[in-house]
Each structure stands twice: as C-alpha cells, then as structure tokens.
Subunit: 342 residues, 2 copies
DNA sequence: GGCCGCATTGACAACGTTGTCAACAGGTGG
DNA sequence: CCACCTGTTGACAACGTTGTCAATGCGGCC
C-alpha cells in the first residue's frame, strides 16, 4: 500500500531514497550502462516503491529539444465518421512512431481553427495535419516558414508553400457519378451538396457541371441546392425538390448527410424505385436500404494514413518539393444509381 | 518576409533583439504591468518580427507545476461512431477550459491500453477518461493512488477507488428491448452481441436473459451468438442463424455491427418483414431501411460530456466519494421491432 | 612503488520559462 | 540636503530532467 502524496515523486526523491546522486538515477531509468549492480538494484527498488515515472516534458525539454512526440490534428468534427476515420488512419501511423495525437474540432469556425492551431503550436507539436475550415491558412503561415511540417487534407492551396496535400478525387468522382446517371438515360438531374465555398464541395459541383455540359445538359439553379445541413434538415429540402413539377428523375447527393436526407425523402414519397440516386461517400446501411445505394466512396482511413506518412517524412527532415496526392475514386453499384427514367 | 531559421526563437532571442532582459520580455508577454511604454513597444515589435510564441511546456514546468492543460482519452476505436461521439462530448467540455485532448485507440488490446495510459501519464495529463478494453485497471492503480483523476466510461468496477463511472443503462436497455419483442408475441428470440467478457455486453446479455426468464422463456446456446465482428462478418453468421429449423422469429442485436449484419442477412433472405429485430445503438439509415429499425439508442455525446464534467470537477480538487452515473435508456419504434410472429 | 587506465559516481550547467528579490533612478516630504 | 518611497528593471534560482566532464578508487603493469 502506497500512501498517497500530494506531490508527484521526482527523480530527486528517488535519489534520496536510494542514497545516490540524481545522475545515477537518471542512468538507471534510461538503462545506460556503467552502473554497478548493487546501486542499480537500490535505485530500481526506490523507483518501484515510489512508483516513479519520469516526466516526459522535462526530459524532452533537455534532451531532444524540439521533438515533443506529439502531432496535432485539426478537423471539422470528430463525431463525423468521415473525419474520425481519417483520425484513425493518422493514429495508426503515429502509433508506429510512439507519437501521440492531439485533436480538436473546429465546427467550421475559422476563429476556432486559429485557436486550435495556436494552442498546438504553443505546445510545440512536431507537426500538424489540418482539414481546413475555410480557404485561408493565415495563422499557419509563419509557422510553416519556421519549419513545422504541415499536411493539409482535402484542400488545394495557392502558392508553393512546402505543405503537402492529400485528398480524394472530388472532381473525378463528381464527373463519374453524374456521367453514370446520364449513361442510364437521365437528363433531369439534381444536385444536393455542401456549400461550394468548401473546397471539396466546389470540386464535386464542378465535376457535376462538367459532366452535364459535356452531355449538352444543364441543371437550373433550382436543382442545385447547397448548404451545410444535418440529415434531418436535408430531408424536407429533398422532399420539396422531388415534389416540384417537373421533378428531377435523378439526383447526385454530393455529401453524406444529403444522401441520408434524400433517401429518407424518397422513401417518404414512395419514389425510391423511380428516382435514381448516386451519393458521394459511403454510409453504414447503404447496402441494406431498398434499393441499395450506389455511391462514390471515399477512403478516409487511407487519406489519414497517407497524410501521416507524408507528415512524418517531413518531421524526419525530408526536404522535398510540395506534394499533391489525389486518392483515386471508384463507383460502387448497388441499385439506386441504375434506375432508368420512366 | 521572415527568413526561416533552423532554431525556434526563444525568449532570450527576443530579449537580445529588443535590448532588454529576459524578465522584461516575460513581463510583456504575460501582460504584467510595471513595464514602461517604451520598452514594452520595443519588446512587442521584437516578438512580432521573430514571430515568437512562448513554449507552453517550459512555462507550465515552471509556473503551474503539475497542470499541463491536457487530458487523455483512451478508447477502443476512434473510427467507431459511438466512440467518436463520446470524444466529441468530451471535447466540448474541454474546450470551455482551454484544455486539449490526447486520444488513442486500443482496439481492445490490454497491452496497447497499458501503453497508452503510460504514455499519457508520462506526459502528465491532468486527468484520464477511459473506455476500458478489459476488466482490469492494472496500470491505473498507482496513478489513481497518486491523485490523477480518472473517469471510466462504460465499465463497472469492484472496490471503492475514487474513480467516477458514467455509462448507459445496458441492463435496462437489454430488458426493454427483449420485453418489447416478447410483448409482441415472440417466444423464439435470438441474441447477437459482443463477447460477454466486455462489461457492457455482459449487462445487455443479462438483461436479455432476465427478460426471457421472467416470461418463462429460455434461448438455447445456439441462439446466443457472441463475438467481436465487423458488419460483414456478422452477415453470414446471421444468415446461418435464420436458416436453421426452427428459425427464431425475432432477434435482439445488442451491438451496432451485429445490427447491420443482421439487417443485411434478413434482406438477403427476404425475411425483413417476417422476423422482428430490435437493436442496441442507433445507426445512420435506421429510418430509411424497410422496415425502419426499432432500437435502444445510446447517447454517446452526452456520455462524453458528463464524463468530462465529472473529470474536471476532480481536477479542480473536488473531493467526493466515487460517483456512478447511469444514463437512462429509451426505445425508438420504427417498425422492425413491432413485427408479430406468423 | 609509482603511474596509467578503466570503471564507477557525482557536481554542475543547461533546456525555456517564471517567481523572488535586490538594485537603481527619480521624486517627495521633512 | 537627506531619508524614504515608488516605479522600473534585471540578476538569479528554480521547475525536472539529461549531457559534459571531473573526481574517485581500484587493479595491473613496468
């Protein structure tokens, strides 16, 4: 039974209890040789009896001077499975390196994003992975200049800062999804997605429009609906869309929640076998709904892994021009996208 | 334009550039008064030109001595939406306190759990929130004794350590789900769930069995299927179960992935309107499947918030006997659980 | 016996920051 | 003119650890 102490034991406490100097304790704790068996044993037992553990911060302050063994991950919302899967990928890489991950959600607020980045920098993370909330990278600028490696996921940047980029092929996916609907005979195709001020949403929309134009089609503004909504908020929006006359015969839902909201709405109206749907991003029960959902899935875990790989290369000192990695898209056919117009 | 330096500027660099002493820089940076306007301005401009930011670790080492402004969150898997929602709840509380969250996944491995806990302790987190992987709390013991606050989510503990507990009402939820099926006329009810060595799984199973026994029913071992599987792995298991003769007319899927796997299997067999299903935990498209899924949802975000609240109370020095909070259960009726046997 | 080398041990400074306290200047009151 | 106070500034130690280097003791070799 150890009696609880108000103060955590330090190396000095161990030294006193073992009757040796500070440095000897340090040597034993760090498994350096050159300590006689007798002293080592005394120290070991003092360590155990105080259940002493060295303070990593103090250790690194002195020893590695500028490697904290932690990286920061700034994302929009951990509770969103897409982001948490990225997190998971990052963590897997970090684990191999005995590196811990600090994470914070911005909810899309640039103010909050700045706060998080500054808090991470003040704690001297070895690197940052960022899913940006806005277009800008303001507070990062001076930090990048000073050599803290940064990898950005899901955003394209102007200029040529040494910032690596990893993202899905939003544009190609948008084209593929739309073309798939066109190939099945649709001409009246609607678009539901995030606000195009978000970089990835912009690309998906561009892909949609490009595929439409290439086929000689256009979607009127009323059929391009944008916004950041929850699944429940998308539902009435989609209900409204499919109740117009003439109603679209197909829809490309370019975002998770939009997909779920639209599926709900189609079921509400009994149109799930009439209106074709292709979604961007996969969802849990996509195969169990009737009909199954045709989607362009992202590979968020792979996104995260790759981002972390690039980050650690930079942390290890790799000097390399900025890289821009785009993870390929594919299309999973499950039924909803293969419905033909009446 | 700042030229990149190999070394991050320290307070000493600022002092030299401004031609003042270390302490004066410290005063300006910390907004202490008693610095003349002229010097303050010189320091400010030196800070800006070097884009200096104080090192939080060194500052805390000296100043607060034992508050690092970070907490650790040990969980099973960040990519699991249930856990990431808990994370989100924790983060919301932490944000109010300018506290950062370190997180790590264990994948259910006690070895990994121990490594994570030790890594967090070595970094002197102010507190720990833990979703345990096993039954034990081995490595935490001495840490708790030494006064690091710990809150455990989803586990009950023997003994009376000052560890607060927050969890869902697994037992009550299991009883309610099972009783709901019984009330709809079912007697042949199967159970699919996690291995009962997992605490919450054990409670759900106990709830199931209790409700069965109270109604004078029993499920043979072949109808109680346990294991940690992905949704895809559960699918054939469920297929197999519903293909036996006599087949169960209802199933309680006590875990997320089991629910999804079972729904897939029922659709594969065309039995989705014949076999009743109640699940534990809600899933994204639960309302869009045909029939909608009746579930006992958990409130993971609330779980996380509450856990963090309790943790911060302890961090702030509240001395209170161990608390054991159980978040109420409810039942969402969507159709799948209201199917009656033929 | 004296000298060298090796193995062991510890004293001290340093990492980047802040708390304590002393030194200094300038003004004020007696 | 001097004692005293106040406001500003800086020198120094300390937080918990490790790197550097010197001191000690012992055995072996000439």
């Amino acid at each position: 039974m150890k009696e609880p102490t108000d103060r955590r034991p330090t190396m000095l406490d161990v030294a006193r209890q073992a009757g040796v100097s500070l440095k000897t304790v340090s040597r034993v704790v760090n498994r350096e040789d050159g300590v006689s068996a007798g002293l080592a044993a005394r120290v070991e037992s003092a360590v155990a009896s105080l259940s002493y553990r060295p303070d990593d911060r103090a250790r690194r302050l002195r020893r590695y001077a500028y490697h904290t063994g932690s990286i920061g991950f700034v994302l929009v919302d951990v509770a969103n499975p897409f982001f948490s899967a990225i997190f998971r990928g990052i963590e897997e890489e970090a684990r191999n390196r005995d590196c811990l991950v600090l994470a914070g959600s911005t909810d899309g607020s640039e103010v909050r994003e700045r706060q998080l980045i500054e808090a991470f920098i003040d704690r001297r993370v070895d690197g940052l992975i960022l899913v940006p909330s806005g277009e800008g990278l303001g507070p990062l600028r001076s930090e990048i200049d000073r050599g803290t490696p940064v990898v950005v996921v899901d955003l394209e940047l102007a200029g040529d800062q040494p910032v690596d980029l990893v993202r899905s092929d939003h544009y190609g996916g948008g084209v593929a999804a739309t073309r798939h609907l066109i190939d099945h005979g649709h001409t009246e195709i609607a678009y539901l997605g995030d606000d195009p001020s978000i970089f990835s949403a912009r690309l998906r929309l561009d892909g949609f429009r490009h595929a439409m134009e290439s086929a000689g089609l256009t979607a009127p503004p009323s059929r391009e609906v944008f916004g950041s909504h929850s699944a429940e908020e998308w539902r009435p929006i989609a209900l409204n869309l499919f109740s117009t006359d003439p109603a679209p015969t197909a829809v490309f839902t370019a975002q998770n929640f939009a997909t779920i909201g639209a599926v709900h709405a189609l079921h509400d109206l009994g149109l799930q076998h009439k209106v074709a749907l292709v979604g961007f991003d996969d969802v849990d029960l996509a195969g169990a709904v009737d009909p199954g959902l045709t989607v362009v899935p992202q590979e968020p875990r792979q996104l995260g892994r790759r981002a972390a790989e690039l980050l650690f290369e930079r942390i290890d000192g790799l000097d390399h021009p900025r890289r821009n990695e785009i993870i390929d898209h594919r299309l999973i056919l499950r039924g909803s996208g293969e419905i033909r117009p009446a």
